[in-house]
Each structure stands twice: as C-alpha cells, then as structure tokens.
Symmetry: C2
Amino acid sequence: MPHETALSEIETFLGDRLVRSKSDRALHGQNEAWFPEMLPDAVAYPETTAEVARIVGICARHGCPVTPWGAGSSLEGHALAAGGGISLDMGRMNRILAIRAEDMQAVVQPGVTRRALARELRATGLMFPVDPGADASLGGMAATRASGTTTVRYGTMRDNVMGLEVVLADGRVIRTGSGARKSAAGYDLTGLFVGSEGTLGIITELTLRLHGQPEAVTAATCAFDDFEAAVATVIATIQMGIRMARIEFVDETTAAIFNRVNGTALPEKPHLMVEFHGSARSAEEDAERFGEVVADHGGAGFAWAGTAEERNRLWRMRHDAYRACLASRPGCIGLVTDICVPISKLAEAVRETRADIAASGLPGPIVGHVGDGNFHAALLIERGNAAELATAKALAHRMAERALRLGGTITGEHGIGLGKKDLMALEHGAGWALMAQIKRALDPAGILNPGKVVETKA
Amino acid sequence: MPHETALSEIETFLGDRLVRSKSDRALHGQNEAWFPEMLPDAVAYPETTAEVARIVGICARHGCPVTPWGAGSSLEGHALAAGGGISLDMGRMNRILAIRAEDMQAVVQPGVTRRALARELRATGLMFPVDPGADASLGGMAATRASGTTTVRYGTMRDNVMGLEVVLADGRVIRTGSGARKSAAGYDLTGLFVGSEGTLGIITELTLRLHGQPEAVTAATCAFDDFEAAVATVIATIQMGIRMARIEFVDETTAAIFNRVNGTALPEKPHLMVEFHGSARSAEEDAERFGEVVADHGGAGFAWAGTAEERNRLWRMRHDAYRACLASRPGCIGLVTDICVPISKLAEAVRETRADIAASGLPGPIVGHVGDGNFHAALLIERGNAAELATAKALAHRMAERALRLGGTITGEHGIGLGKKDLMALEHGAGWALMAQIKRALDPAGILNPGKVVETKA
C-alpha cells in the first residue's frame, strides 16, 4: 500500500480511528458534484488538535498527502484526496467549546456543522448568519470562504471568522486573530487561511463572530415578467440603501421545478425571494420601500411569508433547489458553477449565460445571491454521458471567462478545488504565481491537499 | 553615500524627482509621535506604477531599502526609513482614477487622501467611511489596516478595500481582488497586503468599497458620572442591537482639555459622542432607544448636534483631540498607544489603565472607539526627558500585555511599525515566525520597509 510507513506510524496512536476499509475510503472518495471517485489510501478520524498535529508531522516526514474532509458538501471537489494519502475526517472534532454571549462570539471545533451551531444558539438571542444552504461543517466553510443567502447583509466567512487555530504543514500549531473585534497587529493570518482550501494548514478551531437575532423578520417572494426586471429591482433596492438580509434570484425554470417537486403554485416566471431583518419598525419600513421598488419594475404575485414556519418553508425550498433540480432530471448529475460580477454587470452576465445555456441544449436552471452579483447555473447532465459533461464544462468555462471580462471573479463562493484551477492564471495573472510562492513557503513538501488552488511545480 | 549605485541608476529616469537634499530627507525623517529622526538616503517621488516597479527592481538588485511614505500621519513610525535607503513618497500618485457609482466603488492611487476622496464623492450620494481622524493617504490607510470612529458600523480598511495593485519586491506588478463584492478564488492576497505595512509590497492602486450617504444623520454627546457607566452604556447599546455609526469615549481629562483648547463648556466628566445613520425614521428610532439606555445608566447633559455644521464641529473636536492634548502641555511630545479588547473586558482594561496612568504621574488622557473595544492613551512627555519617555514606554508595554491577558490585541488600529515589534511574539507566538516565513518568501532580500512587523534574521 502506498504511504504504508506513514499510515503504520499513525496507527500506533490513532488505533482503529485510522481506517483502510474500502467502504470508508469510498465514502470519502465521493462528492456532491460531477467529479469521478478518488479514493484516499486511508481515512483518519482525529479527536484532538494534538492528534492532527502528530498526523501532519508524520505525513510531512514521509511525504504523505493529507486532505481535510468536513461534511463533504463542496461542489468543486475540494475534499477529494486527488493525490491519495489520508482523508482527514474532522467530523469527530465537533464540539462547541464556548459561547461568549457578551462578546457575541462562539468558539467551535471544525467539525461542528452550521445547523448544529444554530440549534445551540437558538436560546441565546444570537445567531451565526453565514448560510451556504448545505449543512456544511464550519471548518469547511472557513477553508472555502463560504458565503450564501445572507451575505448581502452579514458578509462571508472572511467577515465572520475572528480567529483560528491551525496545524501547519510541519505539525506546528498556531493561533491567529484574537477576541478583539479588530486588530492591526501584523499580517492577517486569519484571512490567509480562510479560503485557502486546506492547502496551507488544517483548521482545528474557529472563533466566530455572532450577530443578534433580529427583533423582526419579514420575507416575501415576487414574480417578474422577465429576469431583467428582477435584476433592475435588485440594483434599485441597493441604490436606495434598503438593507436586505437576503435577496435571491430564481429563474422561471427553477420556479417550474419548485412547483413540480414541492407542489407549490408559483407563477412560472423569474422570482426574487427577499428577507428583511431589523426592529419591528425598520423591517416594516424596509419591506414597504422594497414593495414600491418592485411595483415600479412591474413585479407581481407579491406573497409575504408572515410566520416563522412559512419563512422556513420558503428558505428550505431555496436551499433544496439543487436537489430539486437534480430530481427534475432522473439519473442526472449536476455541474453547478458560480460566478460573481459587479452588480452593474449582473444583467449582462445573466443574459449571456441564459443564451449560452439555451444554445447548449442542457437543462440549466439559474439561481443566485443577486445582492452580491453572484449566481449559479446548475447544468444537469446524464450520468456517464461524456459529451454532455464536455458541453457543461465548456459552458462553465465560458461563464468564468465572462465574469472576468465583466470585472468579476470566476467563483463567488464555490471555490477552486479541482474544478477551476485552470482558470486561476486567467483571473490572477502573476498573483497566481505569488500564491504558489506562499504555498511553497508554508508547505514545502506539498503534503496539504495537493493539487488544489495553486500549481507548485515549476 | 550609501546605496549610491542604486540611487544613480534611479536618477537616470526619475531625474530631479530623486531628491538628496537635507531638507527633504529631514522632512521624511520626521514622525507624528516620539520616534527620533531617521533620515533616508534619498526621497523618490514616483508618478506611475511603472516607475515604482523600476525603482523597486533596482533596489532589489542592489539591496537598497525602500520605505513607502504616504501622509506621514502614522503614530508608530511605519514610514521612517529605519534601514536608510529610499523614502518612496507616494504623494504624486494622487489621482482618483474612477468612481463607479452603480457598483459603489472608487479606484484611487495611493497618495489620494481621505479628505480629497470625500470632497470628490460629496455630490455622488456615496461616501468612503473609514475615518482614522488624520487626513491620511488611502495607500497608507490600507497598508496599516486603518480604522477609526466609524468602524463600529462600516468596518476597517480590511472590509473596505476590494482590490489592490501591488509592486512586489522583485519589481513584478500584480492585481488582487476584483470588482465583484466577494470571491472564493484562491488566497486572499488583498487581505494579506492590507495591514502588511509596506513590508510585502508597495500598493500603487486601490479599489475601495463605497457606501451610500445616509439619508439622515443624528449625533449627540452625553456625560456620565464615571467611566464605568459610560462603558456599560456602550455594552447595553450593542446588546440591544442599536446600530451606531460612531460611538466614542472621551474621559474627563480630555473633556477638560477640550474646554480649555476649544472654548467649549462640556461638563468635565467622561463622555460618549455618538452618531446614528439611517432613514429619517430609523435614525430617529435608534437615537430614541439610545437615549433610553443613557438615562438607564445615569447619563446626563445630553446634547444633540442637530445641524451638519454642529456635527462637523463635534467630530472635528474629536479628531483634533490628539493635537489638543499636545497643546495642553506646552513643549511636550506624545506617546499615543492603542489596544483593543473584547467588549466584555473594556471596563476592566480602562480601569486598570487609568490607575496605571495615575500612578505614573504623566498626563494621559484616554479616548477610544469603544464600540470596537478599542481605546487610546495619549501619554504626554516632555521633549528630551528620557525618564518620562521610559515611563511612558513601560506603561504602553503594560497596556499591551493587559490587552493580551484580556483576550485582545496589542493594537486595534495604530499598527506595529517601530513601536510594537517587541510585543509581536507575545501576541502571536509561532504565528509571528510564520509571518517571517511569508516575508522571506515574498521579499527574500529584505528591502521592503526593513525592520518593521517581522524579524527575518535567524
């Protein structure tokens, strides 16, 4: 077996928490997207930072790759052990270590999922807002700089991770950040690790910024005759300074899928789904002003989700959109790609993408966190159909190129993983080489999630 | 002359914009704080990114230090050419290159000052909120991760710089970030350069996030019998979710100095100065709710600054606090130090610091951006009095240690510069060595602002 020396050495202290069974390896060789199975040589289940440090130290000595695994919900193959070696399953490091209500902070292990933290916070009056839809692990969300429906108001993981404990490639353990809300004390190491996709270090603890649960929440859906009117509504809403907590675009294809899969009776038109947070008075005011903007743009079918239950149903439907899309074409897999553009270019980006999807012949519903200029196309391809996969890949590539042409980025939130490395030079130019310099400085042996984000070979 | 080869080579294309006169060198050897004069060997005034790249490339070949100079308003000696070589004055790169109102972005050269940008934005309905008080250059503000009075609402430079153009230590030019509001495309290089104090690269262009000018602004001052009541008011305000745009603490010593220097008639007690931004309705609601919190904590002397002119007078007074403090002890210089702690520890940090200042015998007014847990002590020392300087340094050192003991950071916004490098290991442990690894990877010859932030010698 490859890397046998490293594995045996790790087994001496991890015991049966180092697993070489085919089934466990297969479970960690899967992904939520279109990437083929990639089996690690073994799966390790550490329970402490010290164990992670020891594992990484051994791997560094023997040149054995280590790829961290959170909840496996990545859409770009981040957690696949593309170079073999160890899949480091952080699922047993799933304790909430502290909730500091006065300072609005939580300290968690990386295996805690978003929903587990939400449950724990429910009674505190606080919340952790970053919401990528999937019940991702918070370690994975930090590693991929996740964002989602509430980012327009509360920011991404970049904005909501205050500090980290990280195991470096040589087994050293560092702490970044502090309990203070800001700092000017040296390089922003927290920011460097957030979004580094496990290639610079393994996150073993996170200090998160919490927010107050809003006193009042209002949510609504509304339909538009065309997507341009929906997008124009978003832009006008932003320009008027109306503070949205969520503003989601759902195209007519997705609305039709919702009706079919969820039994709703939405008009089969482009929709916006919005939510406002504030005091009773301010949330009402925001909703009123938004209603006026919608009316100005010919929006109709305005439906308020008045109760918490109705709102939950609304957002569950939005979150399950990917699964509903997959269900709409039996036997398919999804190539879901995301781009993010300056808000002034959003209509153009969506228009060109719609035309491209229509020309491809693939089903490709579009949804998006449009308040950020971010949208996704879920390209539904027949499993095993190489021609459709090639078509989808080419389309995703053109979307990314389009984002760059419009001054945006090849991914707003899904990250690079295995899917977008070939676009990095296009986006960053010499900056991509700089990222590789940083990678080589921090992980000279190249053992941490090899093959992702950067190209370290000359 | 040291570095003569490099200087002569630069002179061939910079001509009389490479200056070796004593007066110009002296001007760039000064600082706003207590650091002794440190003369560069020459001052360079580049006008384009290409010139900066050429200068840095030459310096790299000849091992000549390059220390960027913005407006010289740093309080920790960042811009002093501690290692000699070239002071790179960015003041002629002071053009606003684009204001993209629809995307709420501005593209500026690094020598544009905060107030110059504010003037340009006045008619657009947009604003750039980061406000450190001094009319700093935006390049310098990014390089030092500046923040200030409005950070409690709008964030620091970390949150408001979307992208950069940077000249690397070998003369290569990279662009970081994009025009999109978020990205998950690789390492956060923007975040790495923001706060790196010119030690990793020279910022030659910035894309800034703008915000809408608030529809309504209300501001007020109120006095408390003791600082504990003022701090408790801040904590309660945050916990109630009242959205402050500014919330500043000013101690009784500072209030007395304001009266003396500005002719105001403030009660000589601890004060809070606050500002609320929003729609007419929401700003009024916030102000009302804040008024209730103040009353609950025994606050009095509540004075609203109703007009824009009254507000400007209020904030000018706050911004000029440092100068007023200096004026209050003729012939003195200031050692102004800042720390930042979790909000729950703010009262403890202020209490211990007040006692320490009282015991030192030095005048030491305290002001602070208390909504962030950040406060400053301006220790006023007689020019040339070594004993007083030593006392002030020891006191600042204890403040930093106190911040760390309370879970905070040695500097919330003033940065490291020359003043706080000896505290970096204490705050970051092995993380400080990691910063040095990054520095060595990006600037192997150590020419960029040498002697600051990290220790690269083994």
